[in-house]
């Protein structure tokens, strides 16, 4: 293992594991939905790290796998509901792509729930909070991600028994 000495937990990280979830949100719907959730003061778990993308169709499957590789415990990709894409068809392509990807990753042994996809519109602040709550709950239940990660840092010592 090239990284072995790096796997000791860093001193400045909390001892209790909290899932880290990377969320790719489309600019026009899901990101605005997240915004609305915030301005409406709807509570949702603080475990997501948002990456704003122009469209769910912009999300290359490599982004999802790379997030896991870099140590994310879960990945969420969210875009406009089918039919509502700002670019007419981006989310339709995304739907096919991620249908294939999710099945494939699960086939290879990535736990179901680690990688999730959703449609959230700009007006669905409440729904956004529900999605994040569900994804966080699922990922928390799965525990720290070990598979594919080059950063098993927070997965080793601080693993919840």
């Amino acid at each position: 293992m090239l990284n072995d000495r790096m796997m000791a937990p860093p001193k400045d990280l909390p001892a209790i594991w909290e899932p880290k979830i990377v969320a790719f949100l489309c600019n026009w719907c899901s990101y605005a939905g997240a915004d609305l959730a915030g301005t409406s003061r709807i509570q949702y778990p603080p475990n997501i790290r948002v990456i704003r993308v122009p469209c769910s169709g912009r999300v290359n499957p490599i982004f999802v796998v790379e997030a896991l590789r870099q140590g994310a415990d879960g990945v969420l990709v969210s875009g406009c509901h089918p039919g509502d894409c700002h670019y007419i068809s981006g989310n339709y392509y995304a739907r096919r792509r991620f249908t294939m990807l999710k099945r494939y990753l699960e086939y290879l042994g990535i736990e179901p729930g680690r990688v999730q996809f959703s449609w959230v519109s700009a007006s669905e602040g409440g729904r956004f909070a529900e999605v994040v709550t569900k994804v966080t709950r699922d990922v928390r239940a799965l525990g720290p991600a070990r598979r594919l990660s080059i950063n098993k840092v927070n997965a080793s010592e601080t693993d919840q028994a």
């Binding site: 590789r69 294939m100 494939y104 042994g109």
Partner: protein, 315 residues
């Protein structure tokens, strides 16, 4: 080893001498047991070098990317022909620029299986030859059908579906009970077991890229694995890098892989890549009703969409 029939030799020589093609890609006798080697013929006189037998395993269509813009003649087995259709679908080649000699293939021999049957390694297999339907090694012989590659044993498209001339007899297409049986077996495992299987299989990979380079549909000018800005991959043989590469390369073939098995045969470490790629082929069929390498006019599933596509992946 068997030279091509005179009429086929003549046809290829004619194509070359009339300038209908710039070169012909076929197979010739190689220097190791049970291994034909690709041959590039430009002089009509050299067509006698060309052979066809169960040792001609390479999918020659992988070379087409090198000759874009030229007129090329090529020999294809049933599986290789599907790759040509894939390349045509994706606008890489047009039919006019190709002259295709199709050959019906009962399966190509797996030298490792022969070695394994003898209880030795590939290095130790000093000589072996194919005589009719048997592989003969010294005083031992094996039925050819038992020593062909796994992917050939589940092949249900032995005859090329695109060709100009056909070599030899057309074989009956025998329906295979369960061509995706190996995928089904893996699907039946638990998530942890599947991960263990994936890990075990990829642990042998040393990231030489033979799979990618042998694949006719892996024609990206710069592969993501070779990119430096951003550099996705550190090119080591460590599990994290190998798994990342294998997932991304195979997934780039989602809905595009024609199942020729060239990657699996090319792998010097014997990684069963087919176990992964066939899942993608199965899903393309199950979810989108699509089989790659069949209809030159069809759109690969990830290049198109329907408004009523299944939505169950999304919350």
């Amino acid at each position: 080893m068997s030279s091509l029939p005179t009429e086929i030799q003549q046809q290829i020589a004619d194509w070359l001498s009339t300038g209908e093609i710039d070169l012909f890609i076929g197979w010739e006798q190689g220097s190791v047991p049970l291994g034909a080697t690709p041959a590039f013929v430009r002089d009509p006189q050299d067509v006698s070098r060309l052979i066809w037998d169960a040792t001609c395993e390479n999918n020659l269509t992988a070379y087409l990317a090198k000759f874009k813009g030229q007129k090329v003649g090529i020999m294809v087995k049933g599986c290789d022909a599907r790759a040509i259709i894939g390349l045509m679908q994706e606008g890489q080649w047009t039919r006019e620029n190709l002259r295709i000699v199709g050959v019906s293939c009962p399966g190509v021999v797996d030298a490792r299986k022969v070695a394994s049957a003898l209880g030795i390694t590939l290095e130790e297999l000093d000589q072996a030859e194919i005589v009719d339907d048997t592989v003969v090694v010294g005083d031992q012989s094996f039925a050819l059908a038992d020593t062909i590659h796994d992917m050939c044993q589940t092949c249900n498209r032995r005859n090329p579906n695109i060709e100009d001339v056909h070599l030899g007899e057309t074989l009956p297409e025998t329906p295979v009970d369960d061509p995706f049986g190996h995928v089904g077996e893996m699907e039946a495992l638990s998530s942890d077991e599947r991960w263990a299987r994936f890990q075990a299989e990829t642990s042998r990979c040393n990231l030489c890229f033979a799979c990618r380079n042998a694949c006719p549909l892996c024609y990206c000018t710069v592969c993501f694995a070779d990119r430096t800005q951003p550099q996705w991959l550190t090119t080591t043989s460590e599990a994290e890098d190998v798994q990342f590469f294998q997932i991304m390369r195979t997934f780039h073939l989602a809905g595009r892989c024609v199942g020729c098995g060239a990657c699996t045969r090319a792998c010097p470490q014997g990684v069963n890549l087919r176990l992964f790629l066939d899942k993608l082929r199965l899903d393309a069929q199950e979810v989108f009703g699509y089989t790659a390498g069949v209809d030159p006019e069809a759109q690969p599933p990830l290049r198109t969409y329907r408004q009523d596509d299944p939505n169950d992946t999304f919350l």
